[in-house]
């Protein structure tokens, strides 16, 4: 029997795919605002939501959505007030949320095991109605994140400038927070509340290693998120590992693979940066003797523009051929 013959696996894969697409889409905006850990904060608050669901007998997914949205709005308000720095505000809410969740779950008579399903995910126990909730909410998040990308980009890039353009900055920052809250709850079943922030942030960090622009960053991050989610579920099916942890470790493996590439790319771009061409920088020493090596388009040495000619850089110095000698810059 193959993997797709199990209906629970089909549901798991569908949930993983949509979560994997939505989480990095929102995560990109959070990283842009330098609030990478916001997803984690909301995840902690959502624990209280789960506890309330267990206590009142409602579906924990919906109580978690509501509490997470309230928490996200609260974080935004604390941040906007500005008298508590962003990370301290997040820390306060982290611990309040998780302590509240453990307390309320205890009151509801739930065990550590019940809570564990939400903390670390239980994607293979996703029911049919859960799948539709996850797919529906994730689709809305993806639509908003892509559809309002120009506005969200502007607001996350420079709030004050966005305000002077007449954008309703508050609406968009709240929208980002609410999207983050919804994504956290959606991803609760896939990777769990404690790991959801990883799926929001790690693909973005990986994508940043080689992307130069925002559009490329967000799309590559979504692609990476989806492939590590789906890949993680498939892997965990065959090796019988915890799906949530496998997904996150796959995403991290992607980052580890991309990191050296990123360092190399940035190094190469810096080396290829043209040298400034002010009058002073064009001064040079004439090196009369022959060089013993003819520089050319494919000699392997770094060629860098310098005004009207090309300098070649090697062994810590740069020079250009000039007639029968070299000009040392």
């Amino acid at each position: 029997m193959t993997l797709l013959d199990y209906p629970f696996m089909v549901r798991a894969l569908l949930a993983a795919l949509f979560t994997g697409l939505a989480a990095p889409a929102v995560g990109t905006y959070l990283v842009q605002r330098r609030l990478a850990l916001m997803g984690d904060g909301i995840g902690h608050i959502a624990v209280t939501g789960v506890g309330l669901g267990l206590l009142t007998g409602h579906s924990p997914v919906w109580t978690a959505v509501i509490v997470a949205i309230l928490g996200a709005v609260l974080i935004e308000l604390v941040r906007e007030r500005g008298n508590t720095s962003g990370d301290v505000a997040l820390a306060l809410i982290f611990y309040g949320g998780i302590a509240g969740g453990v307390l309320v779950t205890g009151l509801a008579g739930g065990s550590a095991q019940t809570l564990q399903n939400y903390l670390f995910g239980s994607i293979t126990t996703v029911s049919v109605s859960d799948v539709w909730t996850v797919v529906g909410l994730a689709a809305i998040v993806i639509f908003v994140a892509i559809g309002f990308a120009p506005q969200l980009f502007a607001v996350c890039q420079d709030e004050e400038f966005a305000r002077v353009m007449g954008l309703r900055v508050r609406v968009y920052t709240m929208l980002t927070s609410v999207m983050a809250a919804v994504t956290v709850t959606v991803a609760m079943r896939t990777v769990g509340l404690l790991l959801v922030s990883a799926l929001m942030v790690v693909p973005v960090a990986t994508s940043q290693q080689f992307a130069r622009g925002f559009k490329v960053t967000i799309f590559v991050a979504m692609l990476l998120g989806a492939s590590s989610s789906v890949g993680g579920v498939v892997t965990s099916f065959y090796v019988n590992a915890a799906p949530g942890a496998t997904i996150v470790l796959l995403a991290l493996a992607g980052f580890v693979a991309a990191w050296p590439v990123g360092i190399l790319l940035r190094r190469r771009r810096r080396l290829a940066e043209p040298f400034p061409t002010s009058a002073a920088s064009m001064s040079h020493d004439v090196v009369p003797e022959q060089h013993g090596h003819e520089h050319g388009a494919d000699c392997g040495h770094q060629a860098v523009e310098h005004g009207d000619h090309i300098d070649y850089v090697h062994d810590g110095h740069r020079h250009a051929m000039h007639g029968d000698h070299y000009d040392e810059h």
Binding site: A36, Q151, F153, D158, E160, G166
Partner: protein
């Protein structure tokens, strides 16, 4: 050419304006009128309130009293922000995620775009023209984070230009920018001024922009203490509260990563 601002159609008017931040009065009894096509420099020492004045005019700091109008509309009811291009005081144009020059400049076009619609060819042309105006066309698809400080400042100027504003407001555009880029800013502004764009800039010293400036307004201790023809650079020190021993070292703007 100095023309009485009362004879021109008003772009900025402030009467008896007061600004307080957190209950602490910053600007007091501000009277200011800027007419269409004027180029006005706001001068003053650090902490004099000159940046607060511009930020308050942009609606970023609240006026506690006074009659403040943009294009003859009370600031609180002003919605026509596409007519305004704002260059905030920043050290960098980059954020937590890489963005290309073209992407950052395109964001300046949003005041003219509707949500959920793609950029029109007019929008794209305006973005290209704005990038060309600051001479960054060859860097359009590079990450802004990789540009020099002066080039990043030019990106912010292009972003404001993309909306094709009638009023162009720049907060210390020359802070921490080398002479070469200051000359570049003057070159960018000259054709705009020639076509009647109104310009309000906060400056520490006039530098290469001096020939463009019609009028100077000096702010000291939150009050306007001078409003008239621009001073020559030698007498500029009189506008500052104190003499700076090292003039270059003290106006490097602070960076607040969280923009709290």
């Amino acid at each position: 050419m100095l023309m009485n601002s009362a004879t021109r159609s008003p772009v900025i008017t402030v009467q008896a304006g007061n600004v307080a931040l957190g209950g602490r009065p910053i600007l007091r009894g501000i009277d200011l009128a800027v007419g269409r096509g004027e180029v006005v420099a706001v001068l003053g020492a650090n902490g004099s309130g000159k940046s607060t004045l511009v930020r308050a005019l942009m609606g970023l700091s609240p006026w506690t009293s006074g009659d403040v109008r943009l294009f003859d509309t009370p600031l609180s009811r002003f919605r026509d922000w596409r007519r305004v291009g704002y260059v905030p005081q920043r050290v960098t144009a980059s954020s937590g995620v890489p963005a290309t020059v073209a992407e950052v400049v395109a964001s300046g076009r949003l005041s003219r775009r509707r949500a959920l619609r793609p950029m029109s060819s007019t929008d794209k042309a305006a973005v290209r023209a704005a990038i060309a105006a600051v001479e960054l066309s060859d860097r359009a698809h590079d990450a802004v984070g990789q540009l020099s400080g002066g080039q990043q400042q030019r990106v912010l100027i292009a972003r404001a230009l993309a909306a094709e504003p009638e009023l162009f407001v720049l907060d210390e555009p020359n802070a921490g920018v080398d002479h070469h880029n200051q000359v570049g800013l003057a070159d960018t502004l000259r054709p705009m001024v020639a076509t009647g764009t109104t310009v309000l800039l906060v400056l520490h010293d006039l530098g290469p922009l001096a020939p463009l400036i019609d009028r100077a307004v000096a702010v000291r201790d939150g009050r306007i203490v001078y409003d008239g023809p621009p001073p020559d650079d030698d007498s500029l020190e009189e506008f500052h509260d104190h003499h700076h021993p090292t003039r270059e070292s003290d106006h490097i703007p602070m960076r607040s990563g969280w923009d709290l």
